[in-house]
């Protein structure tokens, strides 16, 4: 049985991601946030479960759907929100935005606007860990869509031949924008791709944070013991369209309903209250904490200045 503090933290992380996304979507609709915004709604269990198994020396690389990973690695909501608003106090001083958010304190090397763009980079972080005898491992978050891009197999093969401490996580939400996985693969169990090149590979229920966490613990341990790389496919489903402006009408209603009934937050709450005997009150306290943190973050971000033209010029002189 998992420690109760850990369980609560898993819930808190997921609730934070949920809250952050919902609040920021509001800001987006108000025109405060611009550009692309790909919500992590419905997939929270993956980032939360995987990152709970990590330590402070570990690296992650993230995707275009990266807010969840960033939060799960302990990012400061103030600076995240500020980044989404394009402010100087943001993680990237407002130059990156949602698709490029990075948080080096959390070992988060960044979201990526290129599907599959962070995979090789993550293998490189794993190489640093191994050859510089750093203590960490490298976790690469990636997606079903990215697994069809050449860089996926290339990179995993490099990690395999060099036996790097790398955990590659496919967030298989079964869609690339509107293209269902059945149209982009002939074998939709994506972990099998790892087996074909000699990588220890498995699948997990990506809506079940307890399962993700437990499997991640094992995988991370193996990576630390030099038994990496490992490929983990987490099956899940988006709670809506591809990005904020996509109504996602192509998603069959019944499947969406099914997955919403298996909302990772609901499943976790059930587990916490029923199996782990956590009190409803405790959970509500967590939720309130998160909500007020988020309110503060929005205030902080709104009040923050933008990078000035002079500062911008100074920073970019070097190019």
């Amino acid at each position: 049985m998992i420690d109760i503090k850990i369980l609560k933290n898993l819930y808190k992380t997921m609730y934070t991601i949920r809250t952050f996304e919902l609040q920021c979507i509001k800001l987006y609709r108000q025109g405060e946030i611009r550009g692309y915004f790909h919500p992590y709604l419905g997939e929270e269990a993956i980032a939360a479960g995987v990152c709970a198994a990590l330590g402070g020396d570990d690296y992650i690389t993230s995707t275009h759907r990266g807010h969840g990973h960033c939060i799960a690695r302990g990012a400061d909501l103030d600076r995240m929100t500020a980044e989404l608003l394009g402010k100087k106090t943001g993680y990237c001083r407002g130059l990156g935005g949602s698709m490029h958010i990075a948080d080096f304190t959390g070992g988060n090397l960044g979201a990526n606007g290129i599907v599959g763009g962070g995979i090789a980079m993550g293998v490189g972080a794993g190489l640093s860990c191994k050859t510089q005898d750093q203590k960490g491992i490298s976790v690469i978050f990636t997606s079903d869509g990215a697994s069809n891009n050449g860089i996926f197999m290339e990179s995993l093969n490099l990690a395999a031949i060099w036996k790097l401490p790398v955990l590659l996580v496919i967030e298989n939400n079964q869609y690339a924008v509107s293209t269902p996985i059945e149209d982009s693969t002939a074998e939709s169990d994506l972990y099998k791709r790892g087996i074909g090149i000699g990588v220890d590979s498995f699948q997990v229920d990506g809506n079940d944070v307890i399962a993700v966490y437990s499997k991640s613990l094992e995988a991370v341990k193996k990576c630390r013991n030099g038994q990496g790389p490992i490929l983990m496919e987490a099956k899940t489903y988006r709670h809506g369209g591809h990005h904020v402006n996509d109504p996602g009408l192509y998603m069959p209603k019944d499947r969406l309903e099914y997955y919403k009934s298996r909302d990772p937050l609901i499943l976790c709450r059930e587990y916490l209250t029923e199996t782990a005997q956590v009190k409803q009150d405790d959970l509500e306290r967590i939720q309130q904490e998160v909500e007020s943190e988020m309110d503060q973050a929005i205030e902080f971000a709104a009040k923050s200045p933008e990078l000035t033209l002079d500062e911008f010029k100074k920073m970019t002189e070097v190019y």
Binding site: G86, G96, H100, G113, I114, G150, E306
Partner: protein
């Protein structure tokens, strides 16, 4: 000259740039059964910018194909199909992602005709979309035409109006060589006169978008509407700007450009892409080489900054030429 015809008839049928592209695709697909489309989300969804809407219904899944996120390979598939008798129009969602297909474009498509001793060619159109707009940040805002421009064997088209978009896309599809066709994300919702009927603009013919006596302003893609506004403003200040739109950068309508330069004796080139190593530099180098004695002042290049594009909207807008920058650049050629 089609551009002038267009100007006369602006009161007539006006449609969006994206609709004009759609019409060109439909026109060519009806005409030639070997034309087919490939890309991400272009079939049922009709494409991220709605250019391919309705084509699946008319032409079916064999001719309007959704692809996985596998840009390099599906571009290569297009090349192979082109060599073996088809005319693929391959869509890459953002020009930024063409960086994933450079080997296929540069080492395969561009060189195939040459390497095979002129025996076979690759009649493929690579449709893509670029430029700055709405805070899409560094990996979704680039203007990368200079990279294709430099590669022998590729044609390069960048339409600025709905009229040109339709005619040039048809021209590109009929071209026997690989064509990189770059649309601009901020142009899709621009409206303009487009004839209902079938027409084709041959690659290599530029267009005077605004005749003028005092200075030749060369621009393309989304810098055309911006330059036209600047020209209007300058007209109020007594400077009569001729706006030349090459429309296709390869082949380049040198004749049109040089004629204008010989008339005005002053040149401004406006480019959204970063200044360093852009197409503007090359056009400048041609003009100074071939019309040196006509030039009264150094050619002014008004271009994007040598930086990636920032997410922050204010900084984004100062990263590329705005109307006032263009106005200033034109004034500069009269100062020195």
């Amino acid at each position: 000259m089609p551009g002038q015809a267009a100007a006369v008839q602006t009161a007539a049928r006006e449609i969006f740039y994206r609709e004009a592209l759609n019409e060109a695709l439909r026109q060519e697909m009806r005409r030639d059964p070997s034309v087919f489309l490939m890309g991400e989300g272009i079939a049922g969804r009709g494409g991220s910018y709605k250019v391919t809407v309705g084509l699946l219904d008319e032409f079916g899944t064999k001719r309007v194909m959704d692809t996985p996120i596998a840009e390099a390979s599906f571009t290569g598939v297009g090349i192979g199909a082109a060599i073996t008798g088809m005319r693929p129009v391959v869509e890459i969602l953002f020009v930024d992602f063409t960086m994933l297909i450079m080997d296929q474009l540069v080492n395969q498509a561009a060189k195939y005709h040459f390497m095979s001793g002129g025996t076979r060619s690759v009649p493929m159109v690579l449709r893509t979309q670029g430029g700055v707009g709405n805070g899409l940040a560094a990996q979704h805002s680039q203007s990368l035409e200079a990279l294709f421009y430099h590669i022998p064997g590729l044609k390069l088209v960048m339409p600025s109006t709905p009229y040109d978009a339709k005619g040039l896309l048809a021209g590109a599809i009929r071209c026997d060589f690989p064509v990189v066709f770059i649309e601009h994300k901020m142009l899709y919702m621009n409206k303009g006169y487009v004839p209902d009927k079938e027409y084709v603009i041959e690659l290599g013919s530029g267009d005077i978008k605004r005749p003028g006596r005092d200075v030749t302003l060369i621009a393309w893609s989304n810098m055309i509407p911006r330059s036209l506004s600047a020209a209007q403003k300058l007209a109020g200040e007594g400077i009569d700007v001729e706006v030349v739109d090459p429309r296709t950068l390869v082949p380049l309508d040198k004749k049109l450009i040089l004629e204008s330069v010989r008339k005005t004796e002053r040149v401004v080139i406006v480019q959204e892409a970063p200044r360093r190593g852009g197409v503007a530099s090359d056009i400048a180098s041609i003009v100074q080489e071939e019309a040196f004695d006509y030039l009264d002042a150094p050619i002014q290049i008004c271009a994007g900054r040598n930086t990636p594009i920032p997410f922050n909207l204010n900084l984004e807008s100062i990263s590329i030429p705005q109307e006032e920058d263009i106005v200033q650049a034109v004034k500069n050629v009269f100062v020195s």
